[in-house]
Amino acid sequence: MSDAKPKRLAIIASQGTLDWAYPPFLLASTAAAMDMEVSVFFTFYGLTLLNKDIKANVAPQTNPAMPMKMPFGPQGFQNIQWPIPNILANNIPGYETMATSFMKKTFANKGVASVEELREICVDLGVRLIGCQMTMDVFGFETEDFIDGIELGGAATFLEFAADSDISLFI
């Protein structure tokens, strides 16, 4: 516990959609609040989560089990799960944008923090946020694209921390 060496959590964040943006920031911030040492390595599409402006969307077409519910109206209406066949969802222009705004609205209605807020909490609580240098080069990102206070590194940087961690997650 508190007298012993702090527990360590090492996370690889590899996804850049809104739904997958939550787990790394949520777990990292909570672990830091539990006095753990936390590092998150952002690689491939996950690297976009370090952009100053997070533009993450949900991708309903790759999540057929995603419930489609309305974030407004009477409770009975909000509880309806709309059966939107995948073949239809894939072909409605703007469906992804709509689903994204519905998810953000629903999360806000339920008192869930935004991804940006959780990221701020991570920075505030001393979580190490490491951007993948190789991904930066491949996708053509510049250091100025990212929030302040992050580190840049590669696989070895992450593994050096993860080697002594108690929990390692690939998200």
Binding site: M1, S2, T30, A33, D35, G111, A113, L118
Partner: protein
């Protein structure tokens, strides 16, 4: 549940995971050792989460339970 005289009260009503835990941590950090924080939440998950958080961090969960106010916790800073 037992009531204690709180040095500080934290309202986490309407907030969902993990915000009650995060706000509790920040509130406790700003307090002195031995002081008591009263935290009120509406998130049913806070029952297990606050228990887990106090077990991990070493702060003492003096009492906790469901009241008319919501889920109420008294936590003593270590």
């Amino acid at each position: 549940m037992t009531d204690y005289t709180a040095d500080q009260v934290l309202d986490c009503k309407g907030l969902n995971c993990p915000l009650p835990v995060i706000k509790t941590k920040k509130a406790i950090d700003a307090m002195d050792s031995g002081q008591i924080l009263k935290m009120v939440a509406t998130d049913p998950g806070s029952k297990n989460d606050i228990t887990a958080w106090t077990a991990r961090t070493g702060h003492e969960l003096l009492s906790g339970g469901e009241t008319d106010e919501g889920y109420v916790y008294f936590i003593k800073k270590k």
